[in-house]
Symmetry: C2
Subunit: 368 residues, 2 copies
């Protein structure tokens, strides 16, 4: 559906906006009230770079919520369902955030800078508002803000030499989900080994919005020998890899236990956190849904704009959130939330995609 | 800039989505994680209908945050900077919401259904998260939710006969900012005399998402004798009228006193509200900026994608949020936040719009 996007001052521009326009961005989405590139006119080539080479993404819309002050650690723990008390300086952790009813409201990466300074690198919801209300009402001595920080991701099996050429060989020794402060041409940065794919890579957290084009062009130049190109977070790769897309996969009632995030939820954490009591009750009552992969029958499916129901014997038993054709697997693959009592070998499932119903079988995540 | 919008399951579809596609929507924006039409291919004709006839808008993205339960009234008052204690059932009130630092975080319309049930019809930020955290941390007995409610606006000087033909002559007696429950062809609705323009009109709050296309088509049919057409909230009309666009005009530090909303802020309210102490301090220290209209010199300006600085003698003295060419006034008009000590007759102001600087003079709001 070739609709235009209205670009007005009500939607924020990334510091990399001008550079992405210069490099031919063709389609945008909106994330955290900011434009985020969706593709540069060649989605299949961009996927090939991600899975076989190296690609660069403007993911500035993955905004940081900073917790700073004497109670920053206490607030960080209270906001997250994961036990983060042993997190080290320079370490990242994937942390589900829940509301008081135990529903997932975001799934950021936490970055610990110091005992009194944390970032939450957030998915698409206004966590700064939620966190600041919580801090103020609890009388905590912590300032919640959105600092001038904008990630640029470099992803793919050839990402490491690009980043090593820019910053030095120390980046090769950076473990997955660790980060370090760095500088490049006077640009203040965080270099983190992370990113929203399973292809490996880095995120460069730009800390000066005025230098967006400079950083973009430095990466582009360093990546040229490795045939880098611009792209965007890939629906195909993330579904193949089973990564959660908060806005797409988690309906407003979904809790992290249904969504397959149980290993990131520590109900035995000594400290309280938002949603802990509700999640304990959900466990006691029995988790009612589970997140699964689906393989859909028939010819290549187009990407879907809406979620679709999953049917069994004329009864709705779940919701498919997103489907794609996987060029690697040569299959139609999808993610869904199904009733928990549907077994892995259930026959007769169908997904109603409007006027093109498909048979569905359950597959392990990640797809392989 | 003709970029496409990526339409995936991560961005919600309005109940009127299919109907707007059928009627030729050409451009979308995103608001509260939902697609909202920006225009239907004829922005000038849509403006003419709004100011001289009647137009219908899918504004489902103006979501409702419902406060329900014994403490709903206490929470509603605590969340809003306006004294709402005398609000009647069936009455709407425009209410600024602030954070604990007194910064504007939304400017919804409050609808009072009963002493224990309120809606906040919100601008583009996740107020449900903020409100639910506040309610839970204060131990209030109130449920915060987003109900199945989607407004469709009918705006313009010929809106009243369209709505009267649909619902009866009682709508002519509905005062501005009052509402009533109604039903049409079995579709449960709220009919409110309100809308984000100064042209008069109504908002029909659909209460059953499955009936979106039905409601759209009923309005279209009832409006046919009055030459109704589809459109969208108009940047031109709202700037002419001086209406605030929260996402565009309010930067992240702006408070309602700077934004010209002082008459909706009741610092002498007996009850406490979020941001009250901070706003009192801002008043004591002196409000540092003010919202003004600007008239820009030279030929017709295109709409801007970014905010731009306002300069005086080489020094930045403010920010222009949005500018348009007004066909009614035959002038370039804009909204800006300026330092409070810039007087109405200040000469020498310029707005730097990239490579096309314009002289600016201050004008009263609304423009006339």
């Amino acid at each position: 559906m070739p609709f235009q996007i209205a670009i007005g001052p009500n939607i924020r521009k990334s510091p990399f906006f001008d550079a992405t326009v210069a490099d031919g961005v063709a389609s945008f989405s909106v994330y955290n009230h900011m434009l985020i590139p969706a593709h540069f006119g060649d989605p299949e080539g961009e996927y090939d770079r991600l899975t076989g080479g190296v690609v660069m993404w403007d993911v500035a819309a993955q905004r940081q919520v900073q917790l700073a002050g004497p109670d920053a650690g206490a607030l960080a723990q209270y906001l997250t369902a994961r036990d983060i008390r042993d997190t080290q300086r320079g370490q990242c952790k994937y942390v589900p955030l829940c509301d008081h009813d135990g529903r997932l409201i975001n799934d950021p990466v936490l970055l610990k800078h110091a005992d009194d300074k944390f970032w939450l690198s957030v998915a698409d919801s206004d966590i700064a508002l939620w966190a600041s209300a919580t801090a103020a009402e609890r009388g905590l001595d912590v300032k919640v803000s959105e600092p001038d920080v904008s990630p640029l991701a470099v992803q793919g099996p050839r990402a490491t030499p690009v980043i090593a050429d820019m910053f030095g060989d120390w980046v090769r020794d950076l473990d997955y989900f660790w980060f370090r402060e760095a500088e490049l041409d006077g640009i203040p940065l965080i270099v983190a080994r992370s990113g929203w794919s399973k292809q490996g890579g880095f995120e460069l957290y730009l800390q000066d919005a005025r230098r967006g084009t400079d950083l973009w062009n430095h990466v582009k130049a360093a990546g040229e020998p490795y045939d880098i190109g611009p792209g965007a977070p890939s629906d195909v790769e993330r579904i193949e890899s089973g990564l959660l897309s908060y806005g797409a996969d988690a309906d407003k009632d979904a809790n992290p236990l249904e969504l397959g995030l149980a290993k990131f939820v520590n109900l035995d954490c000594e400290d309280d956190f938002v949603g802990k009591a509700a999640l304990k009750k959900i466990v006691a009552d029995g988790v009612r849904r589970r997140r699964v992969g689906l393989i859909l029958s028939g010819g290549r499916v187009p990407q879907n704009a809406h979620p679709y129901p999953v049917w069994l014997d004329g009864k709705k038993v779940g919701t498919m959130s997103e489907r794609v054709y996987s060029p690697r697997l040569k299959k139609n693959i999808a993610l869904a939330l199904l009733e928990a009592d549907i077994s892995d070998d259930q026959q007769g499932l169908t997904v109603d995609t409007g006027n093109d119903p498909r048979n569905a079988t359950i597959a392990d995540l990640p797809f392989c």
